[in-house]
């Protein structure tokens, strides 16, 4: 045993204490790491801005759809309509960019409109005949698509059910000269018959290219009229599955009216052809009191951009609300 003087005693305890102290410091560091990990786990990541990018895109789509709807009420050349449409989209784009800029996002929307034409009749008491009163006529030839096609028909001037031999036979409907729209791409022909039950309801039947006639979609006429949404597949606001089934497989098609004498009211449709192409003498200019053709915006492609420090999102969205093709 070495000389045990007071000075050299307690070394073991000292060394151990220092060792333990080091371990405790390491433990504290580990605790710190765990706290950091927990903090990182709950930190908001780019997922949030991903959701915001999609929100922004959807918002832009909604705005453009509304602006396209607004243009469906207007007459004028395509360039005039397009100038209004474009400037309004720009206004919205700038406004939203300023607002979202405060949360660190850079956004833009740039629209590119597709020229179309709008065919319409505004005289409520006029039959669905052409400008020279021919009841069988073609509104538009060779259009790749149609949208926003609305018919507002007066019930009492439609063919009554009693005048039709058998309303479940397309040939009898044709024989009774029931008003019908004919949509044909050369190989497939869809016919939409519109008639009434003689008392209160307006009925719509669709004949498919294979000749089968659908069951009738019906609605009670309010104030004597009923609205048929040809492209959004509604009759009097209620959905009509046979109308929704109409499809032309992407080929260009003709749109014609037959039995135009047996329906009165207004209609409007936007087609994917220029006004100059549609104008063929069946139609006149707006304000003439007869069916007219005017400029229209058929569709819009919008470039949407959304950028934050963590995310850059850009996409082109094609918007043609309620397009039938």
């Amino acid at each position: 045993m070495a000389d045990v003087s007071r000075d050299e005693r307690g070394q073991l305890l000292l060394v151990t204490a220092i060792g333990l102290a080091v371990l405790f410091v390491v433990l504290a560091l580990l605790l710190n790491t765990l706290i950091f990990t927990a903090n990182f786990a709950s930190r908001k990541g780019p997922v949030k801005s991903a959701g915001e990018a999609v929100d922004y895109r959807l918002e832009a789509e909604r705005v453009v759809i509304e602006l396209l709807r607004a243009s469906e009420q207007k007459t004028g050349s395509f360039s005039t309509l397009n100038a209004t449409f474009t400037s309004r989209v720009h206004n919205w784009s700038e406004l939203s960019a300023r607002q979202l800029g405060t949360s660190g996002a850079v956004t833009h929307v740039t629209p590119h409109a597709t020229e179309g034409a709008r065919v319409a009749q505004e005289n409520e008491s006029r039959p669905f005949t052409n400008a020279s009163s021919d009841p069988s006529w073609t509104l538009v030839e060779e259009t790749p698509g149609v949208r926003a096609w609305w018919l507002t028909v007066s019930r009492e001037n439609l063919t009554a059910r009693g005048a039709i031999e058998n309303e479940s036979e397309a040939s009898d409907l044709v024989n009774a000269s029931v008003f019908r729209t004919v949509i044909s791409n050369g190989s497939a022909t869809w016919r939409v018959f519109v008639y009434q039950d003689g008392t209160s309801d307006v009925l719509v039947r669709v004949e498919a290219p294979n000749g089968t006639l659908s069951a009738a979609c019906r609605t009670a006429a309010t104030n004597g009229t009923a609205v048929v949404g040809m492209t959004n597949a509604t009759v009097g606001g209620g959905s009509c599955a046979p109308l929704a089934a109409i499809t032309l497989g992407g080929d260009a098609f003709d749109i014609a009216y037959r039995g135009g004498n047996n329906a009165t009211g207004t209609y409007s449709l936007v087609v994917n052809r220029t006004a100059a192409n549609v104008d063929d003498g069946d139609l006149q200019s707006p304000g003439s009191g007869v069916p007219y053709v005017t400029g229209g915006i058929y569709a819009a492609d919008i470039d949407v951009g959304y950028a934050t420090p963590g995310l850059r999102y850009s996409a082109t969205v094609h918007i043609a609300p309620g397009e039938l093709r």
Binding site: L27, G45, V54
Partner: protein
Amino acid sequence: MNSQRRTDDTRAVTVPVNYVLLVGIAALLTMGMFTGIASFVTDQQRQAVSTGLEVAGNRLASDLTAADRLAGTVNESDTRGAIRLRIPLPETVAGWDYLIAIRADGTAGAYEKYDLVLTSMDGRLSQRIDIQTKRSLPTDRTFSGGTLVVSYNASADPTELEVRDG
């Protein structure tokens, strides 16, 4: 009496015995404490690394699937459609470097299945997280920890998400 005491063999042993006992017991106790706490600390560290890898992996998984969903909103024929998402992952977990690998794990319907495998540098600790994406992910590379960038370009390849170190 006095002389008898002085010649007693067993006398004066008390001090060294006491001392040896004291030192021995103290050493035993302190060593026990030392090893106990040391192994506790090591355990905690392994757990911290494990948790860190799991959190980083889950973050990566959620961001990759977010990028995939975002890519789903882009039309495949859209030549301007592009997405670039930065995924900020920690450079190290509990002071350890780590590696990220993406391994293909078959398909489930329209989805591709992948395992994200995060491994600590010494290869002892790893975490596996399953994800499913509509678009394919690169499985031929390994990424080191830190920010990753996932991008999608409809005009280049609409079926692929590209991942690289950021």
